[in-house]
Every structure is written in structure tokens, then in C-alpha cells.
């Protein structure tokens, strides 16, 4: 007799789900080590396409794109996280105030408007105000749509922190600033790190909006990869993909560990 939790067929479905999710990624990972120049035949294990990414004819282009992607992701995630921390303090600790639900909708607006619409709107806006599309416009757009991604984990964490900790600190002669710096900020830190990592990945990931507001000559990794695969999938793209995949996995693992540590300090 199996319990009420068991449904026949659900296990195969879950396994199928994982296979569908992972098969393409694993295949690409394997083929990135293909020694052959043709993507269809297996030419033995080799690092040659990884070497090609760093030293091949397309290397300068990918290096520039990677540099842009990473610096934009760091700057956008940092700025969005700072904005989100301030916003979450007001939203969670500020009690009731006028315009609270409107502000909540505003914070989540980038999640609700389809990406392609945000992309079009940003392009039109930047063109109209005469801002040359390029690094700066990408950065501004990324900060904007990263805010909700940074906000969600930070607000969730803050919601879980009893306000008695700050009251206890104030009761024990800490000023407002001290109560924030010594008590609230360390307690919020797991949420802040999660928010930062999420915003970082989302920025690194973005293609559609970046593609609209990047202007001519400016590339991030996704737009450079997209440009390349338009002419067909080459092995060096698979090598880049595998490296980006590895970066993503490292980041998820980090954020997972951060959360685990966060749970331990929760009273």
C-alpha cells in the first residue's frame, strides 16, 4: 500500500523532465571537446576549441564582448542591489504609507512587461533624448530590469527578520545607524547576496533588450554568440557556451550555499 503522496507515472515524468532539460546542455558540453573541425563527426577529445576561443581569429571579439558583459553585469547588479535594499527597507519596515501598492507594482513592472516591449521602449526613449546607444544605454537598461530580481530575495529575507532585533539593539543604546549597520545589515546579508547573484546572472543572460539598445559595434557575450550562430553553430560557440554554463552553475551553487548559511543564523 503506497501513501497518498504516490501517483503512478509521476516519477517517469520527473525523470523525463530532467532529461529534456539537460540533454541539450550535455550534448553541447560533450561536443565542445570534439577534436574534429566538423560538428557532425566525433574527432576525439580535445581542448582545441577552448584554445580557439582565447587565441583564434574571433578571440578579440569575444574578449571584448566578455569584458562588456561582465563589467555591465557587475555594475548593474551592484546598483540594482543598492536600490533594492533601500526599497525593501521602505516597503517592509516603513509601515503603511500612501502609494505603497503603486510602488510595489512599479518595482515589479519590469517583470510584467514583456522583454521585447521593454526593448522597444528603451530604444525609442534613448533615441528620442539623443543618448547614443552603446555601453551606457545597455547599463541603464540592465539596472532597470535587474531591480525586481534583486528586490525579491532581499525583501523576502527582510520580511523574515523580526523587528525585535532592531528594537533590542535600540533598547541597548544603539543609534538608528548602528542598529542598521550592526544588526539589520548582517542579518539581511544572505538575501542581499542572493539578490546580487540573481541580478548578476539576469544581466549576463539578457539578449533581447541588449540587442535593441547596444548600438552598432558594441557587443556583449549573448549578442556576439547570437551573431555567430546566425551563420551556423561552430565548435568554438559550444566551448563558450560550456564555459558560461560552468559560470552559471558556480553561481547557483554559491547562492544556494549562501542561503544555507543564512538559514543557520536565523533564530
Amino acid at each position: 500500500m503506497k501513501g497518498v503522496r504516490h501517483y503512478p507515472g509521476f516519477l517517469p515524468m520527473a525523470v523525463a523532465c530532467l532529461i529534456i532539460l539537460y540533454a541539450p546542455l550535455i550534448v553541447v558540453m560533450i561536443y565542445s571537446f570534439n577534436g574534429s573541425t566538423s560538428i557532425t563527426t566525433w574527432g576525439g577529445f580535445s581542448w582545441r576549441w577552448y584554445a580557439d576561443v582565447f587565441t583564434g581569429p574571433e578571440a578579440p571579439r569575444f574578449k571584448a564582448a566578455a569584458w562588456n558583459s561582465i563589467t555591465i553585469a557587475v555594475l548593474a547588479a551592484t546598483t540594482a542591489t543598492a536600490i533594492a535594499v533601500a526599497a525593501s527597507l521602505a516597503m517592509i519596515r516603513g509601515g503603511r504609507f500612501r502609494g505603497k501598492s503603486a510602488t510595489f507594482a512599479l518595482i515589479n513592472l519590469p517583470l510584467m512587461v514583456p522583454e521585447i516591449v521593454v526593448a522597444v521602449a528603451c530604444l525609442i526613449f534613448f533615441t528620442t533624448i539623443g543618448l547614443t546607444t552603446g555601453y551606457l544605454t545597455i547599463l541603464i537598461a540592465h539596472i532597470t530590469f535587474c531591480i525586481p530580481f534583486a528586490y525579491l530575495p532581499i525583501a523576502a529575507r527582510l520580511q523574515g527578520i523580526e523587528d525585535t532585533y532592531e528594537q533590542a539593539a535600540r533598547d541597548l543604546y544603539a543609534s538608528r545607524a548602528q542598529a542598521f549597520r550592526l544588526i539589520l545589515l548582517p542579518l539581511m546579508m544572505p538575501g542581499i547576496l542572493s539578490g546580487f547573484l540573481l541580478a548578476f546572472i539576469i544581466s549576463l543572460d539578457d539578449f533581447i533588450i541588449t540587442n535593441f539598445v547596444k548600438g552598432a559595434g558594441m557587443e556583449t557575450l549573448p549578442t556576439a554568440i547570437f551573431g555567430s550562430v546566425k551563420q551556423g553553430i561552430k565548435p568554438n560557440i559550444m566551448a563558450i557556451s560550456t564555459m558560461m554554463l560552468a559560470v552559471s552553475v558556480i553561481f547557483v551553487t554559491l547562492s544556494y550555499l549562501v542561503n544555507r548559511i543564512g538559514q543557520r543564523t536565523r533564530a
Partner: protein
């Protein structure tokens, strides 16, 4: 004895809801003072007003003569033991205890020494380097106490600090708290909804209900001489009977019990007419002839005591408590008994 806290006509409103309707009370230095009342009576709000987490809407709170309304919590020489302790989860036990001292500007060596001494006082020296989450509930409770006492506050506020502990620990902590208060000589203001806690520890108790102080007095005062129906009903077990008041002379009254028997009893307030008296169930005895007549419905065995659930011949439910002794002859259920009121057992109450 000097006055530690003087609360004068404090009103607290949240929008249209009023949590405190003009509360006035004064608490002496070195006193163990308890605010007792059911959920929502305003006791916690009053405590938070003293601590500075809430602003009072009207009235003033004086701490050793100084009006502290408007002072930020960190500028008030009072410390709080929070209901769920609020120990900083990212700091060690020692850092928690030393936090207030650090904020007051005490140097590292001094505050470590003092915090260590405080931990010694609550028997937790061995746990100084642990995180709060690695301690049991009772240990966390003692850390919270040590942390609040370390900066030597003039007044210690305790917000239902025992409610998260199990019964046995709670009973042990009562004794420990009382001892600690006597040792340190600090004024304790203790908030609870548990009357047993209040009765066992307090020098004086303020019984609160619906944002008002109903009665202030010693444990004995409020148990034996409740001033109104709420206090009589809330503290201990009692029988409230509607009686006809014939006349009142000074602080005694002549009342007619259900069934027609007239007695003289202590009285507070109220003129002639229909009012209530309180009769504690243990202040009665079974007799051949008595003041009231009742039919025994059930007998509940409680070990040291026996509880008789009866119904007066006039219809009201009536509880009686008898000591369990070999000599007690028990009337069988269904039989009619006469009840004799002991001297001073009945008390006429204000409504």
C-alpha cells in the same frame, strides 16, 4: 521609597483604535511590578511605551522624575527582555551580552569582563562562545536576561519572558527571576497573562483590561479583595451570583442571596439594587443548614482537592472546592446539600 516610574494619564491611539485609555500608575524603586491581563488588554503596549518603541498619544511617563516621552529608545536607561528574546542570531552569546556596553562606549576589555560576570550570574559562562541558536530555550532566556541587565538599567522591562518555556522551566525561572531582582535591586516591570506567574513573583500587580487599569495591589489584595467583576473573575476561580442589595453601610452591605437568605458582606461601590457578589469556591463548607442550597451534579477528583459542580436550587451554576481528606464525606450526585459561607467569603463587587 522613591518612585522609579510614574505613568500619568497615558493614552495611546492607533488611528481610531485606542489601546490605552488614560493609564496612571506609579512604580517604586526596587519593586517587582507586574502588568497582568488578557490578550489585547494594553499591557504590552504600555511596556513598549515605557521602552520607547511606541510614542504615547497623550500623558507622560516619568523615570525618576524625568519625563522620558519623546526620548529615543537608545537614550532611555531602561532595558527590555523580549518575548522571543530577540538574541542577535549572528553574534555569540558573549557579544550579545556585551552589545549594550559596547554601544554605551565601554572598552573591549571592560565590557568583556562585565559580560563574563553577567554570564556567570546566570550560570552560562561555559556557553560564551556559542551562537544563540545552539542554546536551549531556557538558556536563551537567561542570556536575554544577562544582556538586558549588563548595562545596569534603572528599570528592567520583561515582556512575557517565560511564555516560550515549558511548564517545569517556567516554574524554575520564576524563582530565579525573583532572586535576580532581589540581588540586583533593579525595578522589574513584568508583563504576563498568566495569573499564577503574577501572584507568585510580584510585589504588586496591576490588573489591566481593555486599555484600563482595573486594580493595583498585592497578590493578596487582588485575590481576596477584588474591586470589580472583571478582577474577581480573571483572578482565580470564583462564583459570581446576582444578589439584591438592601443597604450599604460604610464598606459592608446587607444583601439577599438567591433563595432568600440575607447576609452581611464586604462591599465596594454600588448602591441598592441588583448587583453581583463573588464567592471563592474554597471559602465554603457543607453543613446541615446553610446560606445556599444546591444540587450536586458532578464530583471531579483533583488529587489534593475535590471539586463539586453543583447547581443552586434557584438555577445558577455553583462550584465548590473541598480539601481531600479521609474525613470528607461526599454527598452522592443528585443529592441536595446546604452550603455555609465562611466569614468574609462573599464580597459585593462594582460592575
Amino acid at each position: 521609597m522613591s518612585t522609579a516610574i510614574d505613568i500619568r494619564s497615558v493614552v495611546k491611539r492607533y488611528g481610531t483604535a485606542t489601546a490605552l485609555h488614560g493609564v496612571s500608575l506609579s512604580i517604586s524603586d526596587n519593586e517587582f511590578f507586574t502588568l497582568l491581563g488578557p490578550s489585547g488588554c494594553g499591557k504590552t503596549t504600555l511596556l513598549r511605551c515605557i521602552a520607547g518603541f511606541e510614542d504615547v498619544t497623550e500623558g507622560e511617563i516619568r523615570l525618576f522624575g524625568q519625563n522620558i516621552a519623546g526620548l529615543e529608545p537608545n537614550h532611555r536607561p531602561v532595558n527590555t527582555v523580549f518575548q522571543q528574546y530577540a538574541l542577535f542570531p549572528h553574534m555569540t552569546v558573549l557579544d550579545n551580552v556585551a552589545f549594550g556596553l559596547k554601544m554605551k562606549g565601554m572598552g573591549l576589555a571592560d565590557r568583556t569582563a562585565r559580560a563574563g560576570k553577567m554570564l556567570e550570574m546566570v550560570h552560562l559562562s561555559a556557553f560564551a562562545d556559542r551562537l544563540p541558536s545552539q542554546l536551549s530555550g531556557g538558556q536563551q532566556q537567561r542570556v536575554a536576561l544577562a544582556r538586558a541587565l549588563a548595562p545596569e538599567p534603572k528599570v528592567l522591562l520583561l515582556d512575557e519572558p517565560l511564555s516560550a518555556l515549558d511548564l517545569k522551566l517556567r516554574q524554575a525561572m520564576r524563582v530565579e527571576l525573583k532572586t535576580l531582582q532581589e540581588q540586583t535591586g533593579i525595578t522589574f516591570i513584568f508583563v504576563t497573562h498568566d495569573q499564577e506567574e503574577a501572584l507568585t513573583m510580584s510585589d504588586r500587580i496591576a490588573v489591566m483590561s481593555q486599555g484600563r487599569v482595573q486594580q493595583i495591589g498585592t497578590a493578596r489584595d487582588i485575590y481576596e479583595a477584588p474591586v470589580n467583576r472583571f478582577v474577581a473573575d480573571f483572578i482565580g476561580e470564583t462564583n459570581l451570583l446576582e444578589v439584591t442589595v438592601e443597604r450599604i453601610e460604610g464598606d459592608t452591605a446587607r444583601v439577599i442571596l438567591p433563595g432568600g437568605h440575607a447576609i452581611t458582606c464586604a462591599a465596594v461601590g454600588n448602591g441598592p439594587g441588583k448587583h453581583h457578589i463573588s464567592i471563592r469556591p474554597e471559602r465554603l463548607s457543607l453543613a446541615a443548614t446553610g446560606d445556599l442550597e444546591a444540587v450536586v451534579e458532578r464530583i471531579v477528583y483533583l488529587g489534593t482537592d475535590l471539586q463539586l459542580l453543583t447547581r443552586l436550587t434557584t438555577g445558577e451554576e455553583f462550584h465548590i472546592r473541598l480539601q481531600n481528606s479521609a474525613r470528607t464525606a461526599l454527598p452522592p450526585p443528585g443529592s441536595t446539600v446546604a452550603l455555609h459561607l465562611e466569614e468574609g467569603a462573599a464580597r459585593l463587587l462594582a460592575d
